[in-house]
């Protein structure tokens, strides 16, 4: 008896069909074989068992494979017979799966791929924070104190800039650079491609003597010369020794979203012996590696204790409201603002796929009708229900995988579009590719999709088993057709509600983007050319040299034909911004040692405001008379005026800026107020800003000059047509100063919203796709219902119903489905759009107007989708419709 049980268990290795067809017989034969073998003793029994076990182990997998092959062959054969159905289904699935795969490739590139550092999960970002500034940079004394006192973290920091580089060929190139603390690459655990990291003695306070090149720069400028280490490269006109080359695809933290990544690393000099009582000058981006066993919570607690001590030690310096230090996992700190839009996109594109599945399921149900005969025959021939379901699921999976394959083509093109829209401002998005992980994802998606849209039709078609099927052999049985119709109508309702959610989402994004683009930026980007240049310290050591260069440049460019105005600024709206700087206002007491005011600061030449079309509100604009030996003046924006001079006229008032490592700043008289500019982003209201005339500028650190400035040129015609003339002027003044970031201000403005635009384009595309898919689904169901009701329509028309009333009947039937779906979709939208709140500008996630627009859009789509079949219904000829019965 137990022998039988064991044999039955073994049989489980065989395909279900084989077991159900022959299991009993096999058991019986095996019993007889055992009985006979028992006569020959234990050895005989063992031989029979061994033989049987070996055979079943060999046959099981082979038969499973055979059966699968048969199912696939059958599925392919039946697909060949239904080219129309297959084409529509494959296109639908290709769009759904392709879009999902493309989005996944971006998610993979941005969110899933590990940071290019060893054990990156142990890296943290370290920020100062105070009221209104959740993530502020560190100053030298702060960094030194934190890193010396912390026992839970090893610190590193970086500061970005840009430099002129020239290699052996002598061509100068302007590239992004970063000064990094000596242990940076060790903290990041980033192995170099060539050479070594910096040594402590190389962090010289004056100018760097050594540099590490990015892999890209090494290839570009030095043709990937493997012997480059030890050779000199010219940085800002000074030779420095190349000591190493970074690995490919390396980037420093905080450069995830930066338009350009540092191509040159130099050691950051900090003097631990310098007095630490001047703690302003926040410019360091700091990060750290947690020591073994340390947690983020422990590190945070430790920093709280350290900051508490420092606040007591330097009460005047740490009086910003609620000063503290945040320690956050590096990954979430860097990706924080990227994960929300990507998760929303993933959700949205997932809904699109569900819609596509519903459409294909609908098609399969219709096709199920026409296949009832075939399936009934197979049932009659003894195919089990299980076998039928498996066959149908195999067919849907083959279909879905074909769709997935076609989807890869769609994904490829989608991805190229995404990358094109992402532009250089989103380097991680640009690194998206159809790699192995993405291909596996597409395949899994294909199988999941196949099961999803195959399940309902498979169960529907095979339900009721032989009884239903034999009925089908005779004539369509009313009951199941009704059931199937109900399923199809339910699918359409689901589709409409999914489409509703997507259309509302897309609508909110589009409205938000439109409002953003219409928002007053404060400057006029029309016909403005801009480019940036930076003067090396070696040849432009002090203010007279720097100011002299920009004076000549702007004056000469102003005289070019076709130039309306020209000027230069240390910042550039929407592209280059500075931090803030505290200042005293004459006659206004300090709160302790705290300055009564602070503002973002910029250095400008005459012509800057005119070229950018920034209006003068009061007083005057900078002029060439604001020279170094003239009375010192300053210009402010409206927000500064409103914030710090609420009930008085600021013009004529005097201010004095703080100093940290330099001479006492002079008192400066406010000479003019200019209009607000949304400097930090179109979606960010203006901050208080002050503008120094370039000849009177004096940095808070002694000797620092505004060496990097953006030239802005307002032209009479196409700004880009001015490029060669302006470049000729540049060469005439100093051929060794290259211009970088040459573009017009519309481009600057457009790049600043690239991520939002990408989001709008994708959400808009998903919304449109959803509408089309829902319309196709509705069209299919209404058409089918018209075909089913031909006789009824014929009767109605015969007894005098007007064509209009037949039209109304059919259309209202379709619209009923739309109304139910739209209602459900609205409820779902109310819940789901909340997740978009942080991505929206000037629009609430429950913006009533967008909900109305989406509803109307869906109703109109529904109207069109039902109208076409309804027209067909009105053309039914009553005589032939009745005769056909």
């Amino acid at each position: 008896m137990s022998g039988d049980r064991w044999f039955r268990k073994l049989l489980n290795l065989l395909p279900f069909d084989m077991r159900s067809d022959y299991g009993t017989e096999m058991a019986q034969v095996f019993r007889e074989q055992r009985r006979e073998a028992a006569d020959r003793g234990v050895a005989g029994l063992l031989r029979v068992w061994g033989h049987t076990v070996r055979d079943i182990l060999a046959i099981g997998p082979r038969e499973h494979l055979n059966q699968f092959r048969q199912d696939v062959t059958y599925a392919l054969r039946s697909m060949r017979r239904n080219v129309g159905f297959v084409t529509v289904a494959v296109i639908t699935l290709a769009l759904g799966i392709g879009a999902n795969t493309a989005i996944f490739s971006v998610v993979d590139a941005v969110l899933l791929r590990p940071l290019p550092y060893g054990e990156s999960e142990r890296l943290v970002a370290v920020w100062n924070r105070w009221d209104g500034s959740p993530s502020a940079s560190l100053s030298d004394p702060e960094f030194l104190d934190y890193s010396e006192q912390s026992r839970t973290m090893t610190f590193a920091a970086m500061a970005t800039s840009s430099v002129n580089v020239s290699g052996t060929s002598g061509d100068a190139e302007r590239v992004s650079a970063a000064a990094v603390t000596v242990p940076t690459l060790d903290v990041l655990r980033a192995p170099l491609a060539l050479g070594r990291t910096f040594r402590p003695e190389e962090a010289m306070p004056d100018s760097p003597t050594v540099a590490i090149l990015s892999n890209g720069l090494w290839r570009r400028m030095f043709a990937a010369d493997p012997g480059i280490v030890g050779h000199p490269v010219s940085l800002n006109g000074q030779p420095v020794e190349i000591v190493g080359v970074l690995p490919p695809d390396f980037y420093l933290p905080f450069e995830m979203t930066a338009a350009s990544r540092a191509e040159i690393l130099t050691p950051l000099a900090m003097d631990p012996a310098a007095p630490r009582n001047r703690r302003g000058g926040h410019y360091l981006l700091a990060f750290a590696r947690l020591e073994d066993g340390a947690t983020v919570a422990a590190a945070s607690a430790e920093m709280d204790a350290i900051v508490g001590r420092l606040a007591r030690e330097y009460p005047d310096e740490h009086d910003q409201g609620n000063f503290g230090v945040s320690v956050r996992p590096l990954r979430s700190d860097l990706l924080g603002d990227m994960s929300t839009p990507l998760l929303i996109l993933t959700g949205a594109v997932g809904l699109v796929l569900l819609l596509a599945c519903a459409n294909v399921a609908n098609l399969m149900l219709v096709r199920g009708e026409s296949r009832r005969g075939e399936l009934a025959v197979r049932t009659a021939l003894g195919a089990s229900r299980f076998r039928m379901i498996r066959q149908l699921l195999t067919e849907s999976c083959v279909l879905a995988l074909t769709g997935a394959l076609a989807g890869l083509v769609v994904a490829h093109y989608c991805q190229r579009i995404i990358v094109a829209f992402a532009g250089s401002s989103m380097p991680l998005v640009r690194s998206a590719e159809l790699n192995q992980a993405v291909l596996v994802y597409a395949a899994l998606l294909g199988i999941a999709t196949g099961v999803l849209f195959g399940a309902i039709p498979a169960l529907q078609v095979s339900r009721g088993g032989a009884k239903d099927m034999s009925g089908a052999l005779k004539a369509g049985s009313r009951g199941t057709i009704l059931g199937r119709t109900r399923a199809r109508r339910a699918l359409v309702v689901c589709q409409v509600s999914l489409a509703m959610v997507l259309v509302v989402g897309a609508g909110l994004m589009i409205k938000s983007f439109a409002l953003l683009m219409a928002a007053p930026s404060g400057f006029d980007p029309d016909r403005v050319l801009t480019m940036r240049m930076s003067l090396p310290q070696s040849r432009y050591p002090g203010r007279p040299e720097v100011a002299g260069y920009f004076k000549r440049l702007t004056e000469q460019v102003q005289t070019l034909p076709g130039v309306r105005a020209a000027g230069a600024g240390s910042g550039l709206p929407l592209a280059v911004r500075s931090g803030d700087w505290g200042f005293d206002i004459e006659g206004r007491p300090r709160n302790g040692t705290r300055f009564p005011a602070a503002a973002d600061w910029y250095v400008v030449t005459p012509g800057y405001f005119e070229a950018l079309g920034i209006p003068l509100r009061r007083g005057r604009l900078p002029a060439s008379s604001d020279s170094a030996d003239a009375a010192h003046v300053i210009f402010i924006n409206e927000t500064t005026a409103r914030t710090f001079f609420a009930n008085e006229d600021p013009v004529g008032k005097r201010v004095r800026f703080s100093r940290s490592r330099g001479d006492e700043q002079p008192w400066r008289t406010i000479a003019g107020i200019v209009g607000d500019v949304r400097h930090r982003g179109l979606d960010t209201p203006a901050f208080p800003e002050v503008f120094f005339p370039y000849e009177q500028f004096q940095h808070f650190s002694r000797g620092v000059q505004a060496r990097a400035m953006s030239l802005v040129v307002k032209s009479a015609g196409d700004p880009l047509s001015m490029v060669s003339a302006v470049r000729a002027e540049l060469r005439r003044i100093d051929p060794e100063i290259p211009a970088s970031q040459v573009r017009d201000m519309w481009t600057v403005r457009s790049v600043s919203v690239a991520d939002r635009r990408l989001m709008v384009v994708l959400m808009g595309a998903f919304g449109a796709l959803a509408l089309v898919l829902a319309a196709v689904g509705l069209y299919g169901v209404v058409s089918y219902s018209v075909a089913q009701r031909t006789r009824e329509m014929g009767v109605r028309i015969a007894i005098g119903a007007s064509r209009a009333s037949v039209l109304g009947l059919v259309v209202s039937d379709g619209l009923r489905l739309v109304a139910v779906g739209a209602g459900l979709g609205l409820i779902a939208s109310l819940v789901l759009t909340r997740s978009m709140a942080t991505l929206l500008y000037a629009v609430g996630p429950r913006d009533v107007s967008m909900f109305i627009v989406a509803t109307v859009t869906l109703l109109v789509t529904g109207l069109v989708a039902s109208y076409v079949p309804a027209r067909r219904a009105t053309r039914i000829d009553p005589v032939s419709a009745l005769r056909a019965e």
Partner: protein, 120 residues
């Protein structure tokens, strides 16, 4: 189905061929087929239950054999047993396989790999 070419199924495994031979002179149930094959081959070919029914299943699907509707005398019959018989197509398949083997034998003889057949 009537004009199917038996050659499509060739060559057969020795187990398959032996099953056809066993059924050539009348219908049999599974265990009887195994016994017949073992006896005829002197124990060289012993089919396990799993192997036999894999062959039976394939042959039924291909229309080479069929479950017999007629049952022997009920007193001799165990009702759980199913009997199988060769179809006409199956008979042609068996013949085609035998001919295929004969042709192969002929080639081997022509090359004197094996002695000429003794005439009976």
């Amino acid at each position: 189905m009537s004009e199917r070419d038996p050659a499509q199924l060739l060559p057969l495994t020795s187990g398959m061929f032996q099953v056809l031979i066993a059924l050539a002179d009348g219908e049999k149930h599974g265990y009887a087929i195994i016994k017949e094959v073992a006896r005829r081959t002197g124990g060289d070919v012993t089919l396990s239950a799993a192997t036999l029914y894999t062959i039976v299943r394939r042959f039924v699907q291909e229309g080479v054999i069929a479950e017999s509707a007629e049952r022997p005398d009920p007193s001799l019959d165990d009702e759980r047993r199913r009997y199988y018989r060769l179809t006409d197509f199956g008979r042609r398949v068996a013949r085609a396989e035998a001919q295929r083997m004969e042709t192969a034998l002929g080639m081997a003889r022509a090359k004197k790999l094996i002695p000429k057949a003794r005439s009976v």
